[in-house]
């Protein structure tokens, strides 16, 4: 089965290509990339005016499968991903039961392969049962196909356990992916500690709850020589700590979510539970620092922390609402907005969405190299559209971006050469 994509502007940061190129896909593999390819094909796509990028890679998502399928499952989650131009996802283990076993890992991989619309790479727990006491069987989990370890949702509070986690994971050359916060400093906080929280009468989460924990993780990574990836940095301090750590040669990477580079805690006004997540939306100063981190390379990846919740879980008083918002289908337009706003250039943002996250989890994706699997996204960067709840493919609708005028969208997503999403215009 041959597919020829012609006249698109190919952006392949891994190979430092930004040029009008034709791409030939045969039996799910990219077999040729050249200025002009003339050959027969079952399908010839005219991609004039479109960007052709590697399928996007989102390394922080919650698919809620197994156990909480009322919020999302592997089928709906990967369908939403495909609609967002995402062809590879890493999913977090805080399912029910949690993914601390080969059985759950294999289930996730098999289900995605049989029924999914994207590649799913499981991240397994650091600790058994996510209880923060005993290490999970990392050797076996790696063999089963996991790409890293995290107790995301909760931090690993015991420093000794995190130290051993770094050492043990490094025995198998695997990264530790950390959701860093000091729970005692968070307490019952439900939004950023600051003037907005004071006005609204909501308990705040101070930036130091995140920064002190981030500092510990970076020091443990430095001490053990292990590899650390910091989830969802939300503060100026976290970005600075990662920057300094990298300068010292620590093996640390980090990610930022679109909501953390687009919104501030002002969005909470009106007690909007779709502005409630952990870590919370912060101040403008923090957003500016994240922009600077994206621009200077300190932040390695944009990842959504796609956290679907049912209407009943968000339609409650603010303090009682669950933390998290969906993100797969707003990832691309919000990331492209960074280019519009002059924060980063197009090549940088595509790299933050493709080859750099792919390298963090060690998967053979995120490039348009000849010989690579044909995970390809066609993007119309000029398309203006409204982000509506009705248009969402996710089972859950917990997003603060409903009604937003967006610019730029995936118009077609190919997974190993097969079209898993085509936008109806």
């Amino acid at each position: 089965m041959k597919i020829l994509i012609k006249n698109g502007r190919m952006i392949d940061p891994a190979n430092q290509i930004d040029a009008i190129q034709d791409i030939l896909v045969e039996n799910g593999i990219i077999t040729s990339v050249a200025a002009a390819i003339n050959t027969d094909a079952e399908e010839i796509i005219d991609a004039s005016g479109l960007l052709i990028t590697p399928g996007l890679v989102d390394i922080h998502t919650h698919l809620r499968d197994p156990g909480q399928e009322y919020k999302e499952d592997i089928v709906s989650g990967t369908r939403a991903a495909a609609a967002g131009g995402i062809t590879s996802l890493a999913c977090m283990p805080n399912t029910s039961p949690v993914n601390d076993s080969l059985a759950i890992t294999k289930y996730i991989i098999a289900k995605a392969k049989e029924e999914g619309s994207a590649n799913v790479f499981p991240i397994a727990c650091i600790s058994k049962g996510m209880k923060g006491e005993i290490l999970a069987e990392m050797g076996e989990l790696k063999e089963g196909g996991c790409v890293g370890f995290s107790d995301d949702g909760v931090p690993v509070s015991k420093g000794e356990l995190m130290r051993r986690a770094f050492e043990y994971a490094d025995t198998f050359a695997m990264p530790i992916i950390s959701h860093a916060e000091d729970l005692s400093l968070v307490g019952t906080g439900c939004m950023n500690e600051g003037s907005v929280a004071t006005e609204l009468g909501l308990k705040g989460i101070p930036w130091v709850a995140e920064d002190s924990a981030t500092a510990r993780e970076i020091m443990l990574a430095e001490f053990t020589g292990g590899r650390l990836h910091v989830c969802h940095v939300s503060t100026k301090g976290s970005v600075d700590l990662v920057r300094q750590g990298k300068a010292r040669g620590v093996r640390v990477s980090c990610e930022a979510t679109p909501h953390h580079f687009t919104l501030t805690d002002e969005t909470v006004r009106g007690y909007n539970t779709n502005a409630k997540m952990n870590p919370p939306l912060r101040s403008q100063e923090d957003v500016d620092a994240i922009h600077a981190g994206l621009a200077d390379g300190t932040i390695d990846a944009i990842a959504t922390d796609h956290a679907p919740h049912h209407y009943d879980e968000k339609n409650v008083e603010f303090a009682a609402a669950m933390n998290g918002i969906i993100g797969l289908e707003s990832l691309l337009p919000l990331s492209l907005k960074l280019v519009e706003d002059g924060v980063v250039n197009l090549n940088q943002v595509i790299s933050l969405l493709t080859d750099r996250p792919a390298r963090i989890i060690g998967i053979d994706r995120g490039t348009l190299s000849v010989g690579a699997v044909a995970d390809i996204t066609l993007i119309d960067p000029q398309l203006e559209w409204e982000f509506t709840l009705e248009g969402l493919h996710s089972k859950s609708k917990n997003t603060p971006f409903a009604g937003w005028k967006m610019k730029g969208a995936a118009v077609r997503t190919l997974l190993a050469g097969k079209t898993v999403f085509e936008r109806s215009l």
Binding site: L135, M138, G139, E140, R164, E167, Y168, T171
Partner: protein
Amino acid sequence: MPFNPKHILSIKTLTAEEINFILNTADSFKEINTRQIKKVPTLRGKTIVNLFFEASTRTRTSFEIAGKRLSADTVNISASSSSVVKGETLEDTAQNIEAMHPDIIVMRHSASGACDYLAERLNCSVINAGDGTHEHPSQALLDAFTIRQHKGDIKGLTVTIAGDIAHSRVVRSNIYCLNKLGAKVKIAGPRTMLPPGLEKLGCEVHHNLKDAITDADCIMMLRIQRERQGKTLIPSLREYSRFFGLNDNNLQLAKDDAIVLHPGPMNRGVEISSSVADGKQNVILDQVENGVAVRMALLYLVAGGEKLQDS
């Protein structure tokens, strides 16, 4: 040249010549242990106190039998049935015993440095039967003796030691001993069980058992101390045995005539499969047999060695 050490506290302080002298002396004692009458009068009239603060089957029995076969008077004291349980300090315990004029105190203690502590304070001789996670000199010597027995010269051999390295006194003594005798030592274990600075002691460190075993002449497996399970160093024995246990499969990576050692006690199915433990390459029981001869040599040399033979 006569070698009459006052104490045997560590391998680190012994020279290669001294180690070889001990092993050769052990060689000459070995056949006594298979005689009908397993007795020689060599240490008749000498008093040896075995002071054991930690549980032991092999080492304690071995030292006791060694002493008795040399005709010494041996006394066994285990801490749990002594006044240590009433709060008596180590120093008081030792000095009180010394007041009864033993010639040698053989001690095993859970604190690293405990035997050095005693040697500084007592007039009699002290032999270290294992102090904390520091050293276990007689074990390393009997290991070397066993390797020599099966392989001839230790020089140039590759010896792989795998297991809970961080908490093992056996591995430290062995690294020193094997290096002094010219062997190459490879260490393997999960990173959580590898203490920092190991290479400085003289070995190659691996996180992968297969890499460490490949082409080894000798493989020594160490027990995972189950009590450490709760200490978060490994997720489970199941995972440990899968990735770091010696079995028929990975044993094939070693040389065809490689020998398998273990200081004991073994946890079958964890660090070593029963098949390998009972297989034809294991020399584990030879180690135990040789342990008596090596300890006879140590008692003999400390008690006066060559001088004794004249009287």
